[in-house]
Every structure is written in C-alpha cells, then in structure tokens.
Amino acid sequence: METVMQANEWLDALYDSFCELAGHQLSFSRVNKEGHFDYLPDIIYGASLTLKGRDLSVCMCLATNVEGCHAVGERMLSALSKSDAILPDIDYADAFCELLNIISGSVIRKYFAEDDSLVLSVPVFVNDNLQMPKNSVINGLSLKADGIPFSFIIIMAGT
C-alpha cells in the first residue's frame, strides 16, 4: 500500500472509519459530509494526536462541541451496567480521545500496516486554539452525525 497520503485521502479515510464506528459502537443512524475547509478554527474543542514515521508527520484532530463530546461519551459507555450515571467532563473527554485513537488506528492499519517506523502519540483533549508552525498545511472535513457537528482536521508540514 502506498505510504504517501494526501490530506484529502486522510480525511476520506478518517471519515470512512468514523462511519464504520458510528453505525456499530456509537449507534448514530445517519452520518453525512458537510464540506471541506482549509483553515484552523479559532477554538478547537475535541481530541488531537500526532503520527510520525520515516515518511510522514501528521497531526489529526477530531473536533465537535460539548453536545458531541457528551454524545460520544454516553454512547461509548452505553454497554456498561452503570451507563445511566452522569459522567464528569474529564470522562467525556477521555472517551472522545479514545474515539480518535480508535479511528486513527483503523486508518493506520489499513494504509500503513507494514511501516515499522510509525509512532503514535497519546491523544490529548483540546479546548483552546492550536498554535501551528507558519508553513503548516491545514485541511478539514465537516460532518454531521444525527445532526451533531464533528470535523476532522489534518495538519501537515508545508514545503
């Protein structure tokens, strides 16, 4: 499998992986693409992680709003016996980070299965603006799951 992926290919792969999970683990009935963008939103509310290897260095974000973060947390933990408990914000953030971890892992296994140089960071939850080097190339994809807004953002080093 080719290891050089363009930003839009990353976004499509992340979207496909999100859709797979949305139908099973997350029980969203409808996911649809809203559109692409090429800027960094002023505030990111969501999860971020980086993947580095011989041939790539990419930062991936999955952004949403408070409602989206809570929806993901509740759905991911819905199988638990204590699932009706109200979770503290930190637990919702943890679940949201884990969602990005699972989605990115699925993409990595599909496109970089043989790459022995990859190092994936621990995902972090962001509720702030992200500072990126000036030459960064930013590409994003907005989507909605049962009406709740999400967006994937890919940040790569520019030439």
């Binding site: 933990l77 679940a95 884990e98 699972i102 296994r109 790459d115 960071s121």
Partner: protein, 121 residues
C-alpha cells in the same frame, strides 16, 4: 483468576472491566493501571494470570512493558488490546511473548474467543 488492565483511557478500562466481570471474574481480582510503569509494577507485585495491555501509553509504552516482562521471564499471559495493530507491532508483540492482539474497539465476544484460545477461560 487475577487480571491487570493496562490502558491510559478510563473509558477503555471501564469497558474492559465490565467485560471481565460479565465473564465472572470477581471485581476485587481486577486491577487497573493507567500507564505502562504502573502496569509493570502491578504484574510484578500481584503476579496476575492475565495482563490486558495497551500499546500507546505514557511513562512506558506497552512494547516497553512487554520487553521488560520478557527479560524477567514472567509467566503472566499477556494479550494486547490496542488500536495500533500494524503488522510490525503485532509481530513484535508476539515475538516478546504476547499471546494475542485485539484491535480496538474491544468487543466482548472477541475477548472471550481469545481468552478461550489461550486457555484462560
């Protein structure tokens, strides 16, 4: 049976604990570690039958934990539960003694299947 769950995500630890309790493992026999270093300490101190190990964790990665357990010739059965299951990582983990590698999301039936295969259930 004693089990250690090593994962930096509370969500995954909770889901895994729930799966294990559903299999009949008493809750007091299930230990949790939020990073690799704590996981290693728990395995050495508690000598569990099973360690369910994430790969990407702070302090020590899952692979570093596996290397250390391999060096110490620890008898605990190790199963990796990670989203980062590239062929390279799966093979390396198995070469260091991991008995199985499950890709996240962790599904109950898959965990039962793997535990039966290695004779834990």
């Amino acid at each position: 049976m004693k089990v250690v769950i090593a994962d930096d995500s509370m969500t995954i630890r909770s889901i895994t604990r729930d799966h294990l309790e559903k299999m009949g493992i008493p809750k007091q026999n299930i230990y949790e570690a939020r990073n690799g270093k704590l996981a290693l300490e728990l395995v050495i101190n508690e000598n569990p039958d099973l360690l369910l190990l994430d790969m990407v964790m702070p302090e020590m990665t899952g692979m570093e934990v596996l290397e250390e357990l391999h060096k110490r010739n620890v008898s605990t059965v190790v199963g990796v539960v990670s989203s980062f299951g590239t062929n390279y990582y799966v093979e390396k983990a198995k070469s260091l003694g991991a008995k199985f590698f499950i890709n996240k999301p962790l599904v109950y039936e898959k965990l039962v299947e793997e535990l039966k295969k290695v004779g834990i259930l």
